[in-house]
Symmetry: C2
Subunit: 447 residues, 2 copies
Amino acid sequence: MNELQSPGKETRSRQALIVGGGFAGLNAALQLGNVKGVEVTLVDRHNYHLFQPLLYQVAMAGLSPADIAAPIRSLLSAYQNISVLLGEAQSVDLAGQKVQFDFGELNFDYLVLACGATHSYFGHNEWEKYAPGLKTVAHATEIRKRVLSAFEHAERITDPDEQKKYLTYVIVGGGPTGVELAGAIGEMSRFTLSRDFRRINPSHTRVILVEAGPRILPMFSEQQSNRAARDLENLGVQIWTSSVVTNINEEGVELGEERINAATVLWAAGVEASELGKSGGMPVDNRGRVIVEPDLSIQDHPNVFVAGDQSSFTHQTGNTLPGTAPVALQQGTFIGKTIREELTGKPRSKFRFHDKGQMATIGRSRAIVELGRFKISGFIAWLAWLVVHIFYLTGFKNRVLVVMQWAWSYLSFRRGARLIVDRDSSSEPPKAPEAKPEEEVPVSSEP
Amino acid sequence: MNELQSPGKETRSRQALIVGGGFAGLNAALQLGNVKGVEVTLVDRHNYHLFQPLLYQVAMAGLSPADIAAPIRSLLSAYQNISVLLGEAQSVDLAGQKVQFDFGELNFDYLVLACGATHSYFGHNEWEKYAPGLKTVAHATEIRKRVLSAFEHAERITDPDEQKKYLTYVIVGGGPTGVELAGAIGEMSRFTLSRDFRRINPSHTRVILVEAGPRILPMFSEQQSNRAARDLENLGVQIWTSSVVTNINEEGVELGEERINAATVLWAAGVEASELGKSGGMPVDNRGRVIVEPDLSIQDHPNVFVAGDQSSFTHQTGNTLPGTAPVALQQGTFIGKTIREELTGKPRSKFRFHDKGQMATIGRSRAIVELGRFKISGFIAWLAWLVVHIFYLTGFKNRVLVVMQWAWSYLSFRRGARLIVDRDSSSEPPKAPEAKPEEEVPVSSEP
């Protein structure tokens, strides 16, 4: 059955197909770069690898998309045995060892599925248009547009109730992303925008962080979670714990009997895995994640691996691993190594996650960091957060630029990327039959 | 008739309304900042001021939109008498001294119209979808997406004719923008992308610059124009002069009997002024530009000024001024100064354009510069181009970051912002009723 071990095919190169260029897929590919006997094809629906932990900075106008994204092609260009294709996987044929993409079909000897996750509205997909989540660059620019446009609209209107609605921001979900978004909006309204508006007082902004559980950041200790809550409140964020959202519409958010009028609602409450696993007939858990064996392959298909947010791996502690960047990174690296070593006849080992702790940032100068009993908070924790994120940000140039953006934001209380870009609103239909010469570049001006 | 001179109203503040936050509008506002006796409202349909001369760099993935744009609010936040509103002007009522916007009506004592221009397809608006022009950030990101997607598509297909079509780029219009786009695509395909692709050879790319006139860059001397043509040809750009486009469709471009199959066509051939002047009953020339008096006001309405690309001003030489950034900048400054001085009773002077020369850049290390008899070209001219553009780029932070981006691109042959971002393609519909915890930020990884 398993043609990988069949004799007589030793001389031809193995085809390794990686679907997804996130932390898992990219690191699997890096392990296979310039390895003899294997041809790697990495397919992603975007042409870039995204440093997702900083995506909220794009949504909050602190960074530009290009600061936290790098073309996958460039990251892998040194490896002649790796091809990168732009495309979207549609279905997996495990028996036929092939994957159907929007541009055609690709065969594989080894398959690495690392398609990630998207946000989940707990069965209320109709909430999505009122409360966008944050998973892609497109989401981030949409959130940026909504947050900034609400301030702009409030500046133009005079009705106080309407103004209040446009200055109310509700963030649903008190995990790290929700905390980051709430802290950034609180800070933006208190400091960055307060001097720029004439007709409204942006410090009248209400930022409400809604969490269904009893406290925010439940993955941290209670002490650290409380510290984060105090830091958020200092930025003007109101925290509503034990509050379950029952409806979201254009007027705002309903929480049982209560309701908050808000023009801007952001969703940071839950995610679910890509559908590709389920549709391929693979074993999935109740969150759509593919259940994997100790070596990250799937049952009966040792040549098919699933990694990152898309996989459900039961940890040595008995819990499944969370959908975080370190998990995806370590899993991708493990799979790449497994394939590489198998080509030289080595037996497989079991994946083991090395937990190096967790962090969350609150505004531009506070964070919490926790690793077992080691806990820090405040400015020192924020510096640690900064160093770790800069260190892992892919590509030298991005690192330097991001540090400079942050230094600028930090010193000036400004946000560098406060642009509202709407693709369609900006082109007027051209009509005149004649035209004037193309614009020239400026070489002069009045002093 | 003219209430500005009417006695008894001396004590109330004048309302100065500026429509458009480009070079003209912004500089008019800057002259009126913190001036007593005048309240300024600047309305723009975007929340940012755009450094348009570098927009082609955004289209060519060298810079991010935020590098060349700054929020108008921030630029004017030091001036308490200036309000900035986001909105689009719909009509001007000269007799009633008011402007209708999408959000409501504003009255004015002084009006400054500086709405700029958009591209013109010479009566063939149906070409726009096949051949986008470059006037806004949205245009630039659309062009970037098309150029990069064509390379990605060529990598995925095998049919040689189809591949050739996807690797053919036609730029219509041999002015500075057309030359900049052609040079950048030529360079990108020869150097930046050549090592990143496996299945195609990006150096097989054809970049064709089509110009209706007998030579490119007609505003420069013949000597300089020829030099630019040679520099472009060294980057692999083919120049077709005296070639008139007769049709553009999804297959490519038709030039009379000839045709070029091309998946990507860019339009840099002509622009026309905003429609606002014409619809307000103002005197316009055949390109839709409002004809202005020597003081940049319009006939019979000394309190209404039109500046920049939207205005048609007859120069001391007898020619109308071109739609360039230096003209807009100087006109805006002049108008702001005129209003400021009129408040103190000074008589008006006439606008005089100070021509400080012109430049065009070809790829990442060549340019031509011309000021009367003074002409330079090559690397020295490119350095001059660089210095001038950095100097005029608004805001310290942007300047430093842009220099760094360029230094990086120059040293590495990479392009920093090679992202294809499509707003809709990236969100999968969420479905599962359960969700997993929010993602955490990475603090660790395998070495």
